[in-house]
């Protein structure tokens, strides 16, 4: 039996700020992580390991999800285990979680994201609500993340800019490819305001972490200099150095046990040898990423909580959200461009770091009623050469081989540079997107797997299409070729939130405004699952910020 003041289940962006803050305050923290503990020096730019064989996520034949997709022909839902349906809904199972593999495009939410209902009114079929806290409540913690995790960037005034308590980022912006200035020119000539994107990447060394060395292999890869602000490099390494934080990797928690005082008393887990162990603590924090957090809380049902811990009002697992939107891009044909420009565009490593937030609120009669819009981010295609080559072997449905394939490959790699865009808008919470336990399917631990229903609201697509059109207009202005864009209701499995929404009313929310389970005194949830609506930006900064906020509330109770 291991004892601690605080036991944190999950070591990603939701768990690591808790461990960092409380260990520095002198509390004994134990972090349980199901995956391995890779160090910065373990990470290499091995596309086979990271991206072809997916070594940082579980083998889907052993650990998986049951995915429920809508079957429009029958107006019913089909369940398929993710080892058959693909894509995987795991995003990085190791110490630091998926924050190791993020690209680190960091955006704050904006004040209107905290009051979507009062700002835009209800939408039929969507469970839109206001947050129980305001932007002003979270702002100090956004700022804290900038400083502690390390965010580089450049603040520019903008119509939709969120208020800041400091004038600028603590670290200067990262170096940019020449394409950033081309986006600026094209965007401005269209009357838009292209913005520099902040990144959770150090542009200068800090403490034990090196600066970014522009490896050109960032998203999907672990960082080899420590520049990327993963929960591991930025927070957990520091927490461990205090001597108060113990991280137990390869520890699969399968139940939170409760005592007769309605308190969580211990976390039961399997260690790397499959032996069952326990951690006893005063306070418990669950942060396994939305789907797995819900699963653990459901798996922990007991006599007093027969439907899952704290689930008397059936809120646990409801209102799961992703990031809606889409993606697209266009091609530079390098042989058409002046040699010097082509060479600069081809240069690997430096970042694009541009976004458009001109339509964070859409006020356009062509669209309809005033509505929440979103963010457009521009980026180069990831370097991953194997993926590019795999794609190049197809010409429509015709398979290329022999000399024809070789010619296409050479052209693809030496004469084309792809500029991509991603659209982020709200995935409206609905009754058709939620997590339960599957009654039949079990993982290698013989525990029921999470069943995830993946319904979306048609409004999401409408907003996504509007923003995609705007993004394409920039690429057209840049005279790119093969301009494309697509919007769909398929969720991006790396952008998950909701499922344990926080709120002031226990009848309609699972957590209170401090992310404590309404019905249980010593149990908190701090990954993205607390978010009742997702905003229109990637979540990581908000998850970090909220977790720092909760750490402060939690420490007041120790």
């Amino acid at each position: 039996m291991i004892e601690a003041d605080v036991c944190v289940v999950g070591s990603g962006a939701g768990g690591s700020p808790i461990a960092y803050e409380l260990s520095r305050k002198g509390y004994r923290v134990v972090v349980l992580e199901k995956g391995k503990w890779y160090k910065t020096s373990d990470f290499t730019k091995d596309e086979l390991a990271c991206c072809r064989r997916d070594l940082y996520t579980p083998n889907l034949n052993q650990e998986f999800h049951a995915i429920e997709d809508r079957d429009s022909r029958k107006d019913d839902w089909n369940t398929t285990p993710s080892y058959e349906s693909g894509p995987s809904f795991w995003n990085g199972n190791c110490v630091g979680g998926s924050s190791n593999f993020m690209s680190g495009y960091f955006h704050r939410l904006k004040p209107i994201d905290f009051r979507l209902l009062s700002e835009f009114g209800p939408i039929e079929g969507a469970n839109v609500v206001d947050w129980p806290i305001s932007y002003e409540d979270l702002e100090p913690y956004y700022t804290k993340v900038e400083r502690v995790v390390g965010i580089s960037g450049r603040v520019v005034p903008h119509h939709h800019a969120e208020p800041r308590s400091t004038p600028d980022y603590p670290l200067p912006a990262l170096r940019e490819n020449i394409v950033s200035s081309l986006i600026d020119d094209a965007g401005r000539s269209l009357g838009y305001s292209p913005l520099p994107v902040a990144r959770a990447i150090l542009s200068e060394p800090r403490g034990n972490r090196g600066a970014c060395y522009y490896s050109n292999f960032c998203g999907s890869y672990g960082c080899s200099s420590g520049a990327k602000g993963s929960g591991r490099a930025a927070l957990l390494d520091e927490a461990v150095r205090t001597g108060n934080c113990t991280i137990l990797p390869e520890s699969q928690v399968f139940q939170l046990e409760m005592d007769s005082n309605n308190q969580v008393s211990s976390a039961r887990f399997f260690d790397s040898h499959g032996n069952e162990k326990r951690v006893k603590a005063k306070q418990f924090v669950v942060a396994c990423q939305a789907i797995e957090s819900v699963r653990l809380l459901l798996l922990s049902a007991n006599h007093f909580h027969p439907d899952g811990i704290g689930n008397a009002h059936n809120q646990l697992g409801k209102n799961l959200v992703f990031s809606a939107g889409g993606a697209g891009g266009g091609d530079f044909f390098l042989d058409e461009l002046p040699k010097e420009l082509a060479q600069s565009l081809k240069e690997p490593g430096w970042f694009v770091n541009r976004s458009l937030q001109d339509w964070y609120t859409i006020d356009d009669s062509e669209f309809g009623q005033r509505a929440k819009g979103g963010t457009i981010d521009f980026l180069f295609e990831h370097a991953n050469p194997i993926r590019r080559a795999m794609r190049a072997k197809w010409n429509g449905s015709r398979l290329l081989w022999g000399n024809e394939l070789k010619q296409k490959l050479h052209k693809e790699f030496t004469e084309r540079r792809e500029l991509k865009f991603e659209v982020f808008n709200d995935w409206l919470p609905t009754d058709d997107c939620f997590v339960t336990l599957d009654k039949n399917l079990r993982d290698k631990w013989s525990k029921p797997v999470a069943k995830v229903r993946l319904g979306y609201h048609p409004h999401d697509l409408k907003v996504g299409r509007y923003l995609t059109k705007k993004a394409k207009s920039v690429l057209r202005k840049m005279k790119l070729h093969n301009i494309r864009g697509s919007v769909s209701g398929s969720p991006p499995p790396n952008l998950i939130a909701g499922g344990c929404r926080f709120g002031s009313d226990p009848l309609t929310s699972y957590l209170d405004s401090n992310c404590r389970v309404h019905e249980v005194d010593n149990l908190y949830v701090t990954d993205g699952s607390f978010m009742p609506t997702g905003g229109s930006v990637p979540y990581t900064w908000t998850i970090y910020a909220n977790s720092f906020r909760v750490a402060e509330k939690l420490s007041e109770r120790l």
Binding site: D46, G402, L405
Partner: protein
């Protein structure tokens, strides 16, 4: 799913346009698990799990890769890149899809059958243009397209993976495509990808 979309999906699967996983997913709407099992059983009926290639199979595979990814004066082919070495690695890699491994091997036998049918002699005795014609033909067959797709996957993956894995000898694949590999490069094959003792 009606029978038209089902057969589309089946064709996509057989031609390698969608993975087995995607195929099963799209088929579950129509087919019962039992009938699906029979179907897949047919597809794989002659597959045998033989992780190591025999010397004879090696020779055949080399010849196949010469057709699929030929050597040219200006650019490396499967021979210079040593695609065969990567195939050997793949066949023993526990993280590589086992049904793909089966398909890769069983395809060689079918190639021989087709060679006998069309030219009345073994593949290895065909002249270069006959080999090419044979592949033109088998790419129109559902198993053939699927098989060629898997082999091209192996060739391309090997060509652009770190030389550590056996192909892309001296970084010849990267050099040809003017690709700058990321650093640090891997120095050892991850334990998960090594054959289980």
């Amino acid at each position: 799913m009606n029978s038209v979309t089902f057969s589309n999906s089946l064709n996509n699967f057989l031609s390698g346009k969608i993975s087995r996983r995607e195929f099963i997913r799209s088929s579950l709407a129509l087919a019962s698990i039992a009938s699906l099992g029979q179907l897949l059983g047919c597809v794989y009926q002659d597959a045998q799990v033989l992780p190591r290639l025999s010397p004879q199979q090696d020779e055949q595979m080399s010849a196949v890769f010469d057709v699929l990814f030929p050597s040219e004066q200006e650019s490396p082919g499967a021979r210079e890149l040593d695609t065969l070495a990567y195939l050997h690695f793949v066949m023993l890699d526990p993280t590589y899809d086992s049904s793909d491994k089966e398909l890769i091997q069983s395809g060689l036998e079918r190639l021989q059958e087709e060679s006998d049918k069309r030219f009345g002699k073994p593949f290895l005795t065909l002249r270069a243009e006959q080999r090419h014609l044979l592949f033109e033909h088998i790419q129109t067959l559902s198993w053939g397209k699927r098989w060629m797709t898997r082999l091209l996957n192996v060739a391309l993956e090997g060509m652009l993976a770190d030389p550590l894995y056996g192909s892309n000898r001296d970084g010849a694949g990267w050099r040809w495509l003017e690709f700058q590999p990321g650093v640090p490069r891997p120095t050892a094959i991850p334990t998960e990808m090594r054959p289980k003792a």
